[in-house]
Each structure stands twice: as C-alpha cells, then as structure tokens.
Symmetry: C2
Subunit: 329 residues, 2 copies
C-alpha cells in the first residue's frame, strides 16, 4: 500500500512551495485565488488531506477534548449521561473537535498522569473529585463541569435547573389539591441528591406544607418498591409521591398496584428525568424533562470559549426543565 501523500507531494505537483500549500489549507484567504485552485486540484488528484498529527505537532494544539464520566455505578453510560454524551458528540463534530470518552477511574491512573497534555479540554460528568479538577487545571487543561458544581474553583458549570424542576413537579401536585406529598429519594451524585432534597423541603415549606414524609432507597427497582411499600402502608397514607427519578417512580407504581391502589385516583406519582420508560409505564408517568443533549452542547460551547480565551462567560449555566404531564397525576 502506498503511504499517504504529504504536503511535499502536493507542493511538487502544483509547483508551489509547501508553505503555500499549507496556507491554502489553513489560511485560504492568504493565498491568491489562482494559486489556491492549483493547490486544491493537486491535492484532489493525490487524495491528499493534511495529517492531523503532524499539524497538531507543529501548531502545538490538538483540538482534542474529552468527556470524563465520574461514577462508580455498574452502568456508567445510563440514559442521562448518554444523552449528554450525544449532545457533546454532535457539538464536537461541528466544532471539529475530536472527542475522547472515558471513565474517571481508569483515567486518573493511565491518562491524567501520562497523556493529559494532549487533551486541551475536559468535560467532567457526575461526581468529579476536586483533586482531579485541580490536577487538570494545573496542567493547563480547560475544565467544564456538567450537572455538578464545585466551590473554590474558577470553572464553568453546566447544570439543569434542579430546583426549578422540583418546583414544577411539586407545584403540579399542590395545584391539583394534594397536601400530603411524600418524597422517595435515591442516592445520586452528592450535588443532585442535595439539590433535589433541599428544593423539595423549601418548596413544601413555601406552601406551608409539611415535608417530613421522606424515604431513601437504593438505586434499583426492588429497593424503591420496598421503600414505597413502607410509605404507603402507614396509617396516614400520602396522596401523592414525588420520586427523585423515574426508576423510583416505577417502583412506587408497582407498590401501589400491589396494595390495590389506583393511580392517579388513590395516589399521584411524579418522576424526574423524563426518561424513555415514562411512556412505557402504566399509567404513563408524569415527569420532569431535562434536555440532556442541550446540556452536552452547552458544555462544548463553553469549553470552546474557554479555549479561545473568552472566559467572560457566566460561570454557571443553568438549563430550564420542563414538566411532561402524562396520566400518573
């Protein structure tokens, strides 16, 4: 197999210097129309395209960014993070970035120490450790946090409006007349868990309602179902449940069914995330929609701004949520 054509081949064939060929590709406006065309023709004929490695070497920049997911769960790319990933992918492609994807654990060992240098920017998803952030920043890597915040650092965070989302869910229930609203909460990343929890408490208080019927559960359906069973078998049964994600809501629905409760007549349920399971459940689940793709896109946009030195951006970018009303309330 003949090795790939180089800029020298193009230079020779088109009769101009390599510098001009280079300019024709990276600064077309600096080479005369006529010459440029000659270059392009030669390149076309040779199937030449600039070698990105060599270019990165000479330019001292790689246009490579990474999406690092910091999670210890079994499935790293769940629907939520996958959605963000899609947004990042799409936006990265349009911005001619190359996107590396990895999990944080493997990364910290293999890569942060060994290769971080050729990554220009990192998007950290999940529960990033402060140590990782400072390590990266100290090496001159631009960092954007997604769905997380961190104090004490000078960095950009892209988050969904968790409090607003909880408000949409809870007010929806309150406006339908519910007074005894319980919450079943799972342990997500610290940031998310805290936001959803405090938001629930604050909003209930705002309406003068008690926010003391709160259960915790593990992140699996059985645990959620158990928690819901216990909750619903109290003497003072709540008329509505706010579940901090859709899986927990699904568990709640199962528990209700086992206890012979009708949804939404006997019990209203609202979920969070508006994942793909919502329309599959019976009844279809009302849930708070988060625009994951958009979050991913925003991450890339802000990372780009950071890399271009335009860091006069807002430090915290908040994306509104949207209540998707279905039949479970």
């Amino acid at each position: 197999m003949p090795s790939n054509p180089t800029i020298y081949d193009v230079s020779r064939l088109s009769g101009v210097s390599t510098a001009t060929v280079s300019r024709a590709f990276s600064n077309p406006e600096h080479v005369k129309e006529h010459t440029r065309r000659k270059v392009y023709e030669a390149a076309e004929a040779l199937h030449y395209s600039p070698n990105a490695i060599a270019r990165a070497m000479a330019r001292q920049r790689t246009d490579k960014i990474a999406y690092l997911i910091c999670k210890k769960d079994a499935t790293v790319l769940d629907e939520f993070y996958a959605g963000i990933c899609e947004g990042i992918m799409q936006s990265a492609n349009h911005s001619e970035f190359q996107l590396l994807v990895s999990t944080a654990e493997d990364w910290l060992h293999n890569v942060s120490t060994a290769q971080a240098k050729q990554i220009e920017g990192v998007i950290l998803g999940g529960d990033a450790k402060a140590e990782l952030v400072s390590e990266l920043q100290s090496r001159g890597v631009a960092v954007v946090l997604v769905n997380n915040r961190m104090s004490g650092f000078d960095l950009t965070c892209v988050v969904s409006d968790e409090r607003g989302g909880v408000r949409q869910a809870v007010e929806h229930l309150i406006f339908r007349g519910h007074r005894h609203i319980a919450m079943i909460a799972g342990q997500f990343s610290p940031y998310i868990s805290r936001e959803r929890y405090t938001a629930f408490r604050d909003i209930m208080k705002e309406y003068g309602l008690p926010a003391d019927d709160i259960r915790l559960c593990e992140l699996n359906v059985e645990s959620a179902t158990q928690a819901a069973m216990a909750l619903l078998q109290q003497e003072q049964r709540p008329t509505a449940v706010f579940a901090t994600n859709d899986m927990i809501a699904a568990g709640t629905i199962k528990a209700a069914r086992r206890l012979g409760l009708q949804i939404p007549e006997d019990l209203a349920v609202v979920g969070f995330d508006d994942s793909s399971i919502c329309p599959m459940l019976e009844p279809e689940l009302t849930s708070v929609h988060i625009n994951c793709r958009r979050m991913g896109e925003l991450c890339v946009e802000h990372l780009k701004a950071l890399l271009d030195g335009k860091s006069d951006f807002p430090r915290v970018v908040t994306l509104p949520t949207e209540l998707r009303i279905r039949r479970s309330v």
Copy 2:
C-alpha cells in the same frame, strides 16, 4: 505557565542522550538498570511524560480507535449501544488505546475524508454502509462490525446470537404450552430485524406451529400498543406474544391491560434485550439478555488482533444470549 518538559530536559538532567531516555520509556529492557533509574528520577523531578503526539508522529502509529454509530434515529446512544460503548471504553483503556466516539453521518463528511488517517481502527455499530467499510479499508483502517454482518468483505463481526436468543424466548413459551404465539416486530437495523424475524419463523416451523400472526410497528410505545391492540382484538386471540424488543413488549402489556387481559394468565409476553425497564414493568418482563459490555470488549480485542497482524481470528464472533425469566410468562 512553563511549557511542558521535553525529552531534552530529561536527557540533560540525567546526563544521558535523548535516545536513551526514549528507550528507557518505550523499551526499558534495552537500557541498563543503573541508567534507567537515573532517567526515571530525572523524569520524575521534571514531571515529564512522553508527548503522545510527537510519539505518534515518529512511530507512525497513533493507538487511536473509534466507535462509530451508524443510525439515523433521534437517540443514537440508546441503552443497547451505550452498553457496547461502555465495554469498548473499558477495554480500550486497558489496552492504552484512545477512543474516539462519533456518529456516522457527521463522520463520513468531516472525518473519513479529512482525518481517517490517524485512526488506526474503527468499530462500526448499527447499520454501517458497505461504502463506508470499503472506504475505510482502502485507507488501511482496520474495521470491526458490531451487531451486524456484511458479505463480500474480509472483516470481523461481533454479534450476539440472535437466533439462539429467539429460540430461548420462543421455546420458553412453547414449553409452557403455548401454541398460538404471535410476534410483534419493530424495524431495527436490517440485520437485526431480519435475524429475529427469520429465526422466529424457522423455530415455529420446527415445532410444527404456524408463524403467521406477525405484526409490525414503529419504534415507539404508542405504535407498539396500537399493533398489540389490533392483534389482541382478533377473534382468534394468541395466548403469547414474542416482542422483538422490550419497548414493544411494554406496549403489548399496556394493550393487554386496556383490554382487561391478565398477564401472564390470559397472555404471556417475552421481550428482547433485557433492558433496564424489564424489572420496572408490571408484571416484570421476561426477556432475552444480551451482554453488551462483553460485545464491546470483544470488539476491541479483535481490533487489536487485527492491528497486530494476527488476523487468523474467527471472522464472526458470536456471543450467547441468556433468557432472564421473570413474571410475564
């Protein structure tokens, strides 16, 4: 900010040549214990680590591979492809590959033409076009197909045992005494759709049962529900439904409930993929499990073998499926 240390800095500090430093890092066995230690100490002191770009340039290999998802759907990284992606990620990290992720459309325009050269291997997921494969192979890029097959090419395919999976599902129904088994099928990638369809037909025939009650639907719950409604309102109602994925099974369950049918008493349902929704449904859905992570890992392993020139591997790697029995049958 001081620019990163280079091999020259290490060379100077440790008092050996750059060649020796280089060897100390990439061929430790070719440098004497004593020297090696001096080099490592100097590197440590300077926080030096080899610049992968320069290394790629000199070595003429990049250790970069890509996972390309060929799909036109709205959500590219659904649970299935995300699972594969996780496996690839993990395996790639262990093999010190850098992993790029992208969708095929953007790719074909931006990358295949412009940058394919510095990617050494590609894993193609979904419905890859033959054109893309030949384009890549003609540029000397190693290609592995996942969950797809393609004739006329000399390439490695990693697939789950679709026929075996269908057999597990259908035989499970048959052994429970079902005779009138209907199928509701969605339009996935051509390969998957065809496999599941023909497998169903063949296996039913094998048991002397008619396989003529087959419905098609779009890939959304409503469409699946509609299809199931029509199916279940026939005068000769089937006693079991084989759904070609879990979402369709969910639609079937919804339809059954609307018609007042009990599951599994009046209707048995089996899904496919064993996605995370199975335990959330009521009743919990029996489904055919596919080990996506493992498929991803296998892709990387075979890609690696390909890159190392050991291509005496089986051309088609098939991964067994496993029936996860729950309550819907």
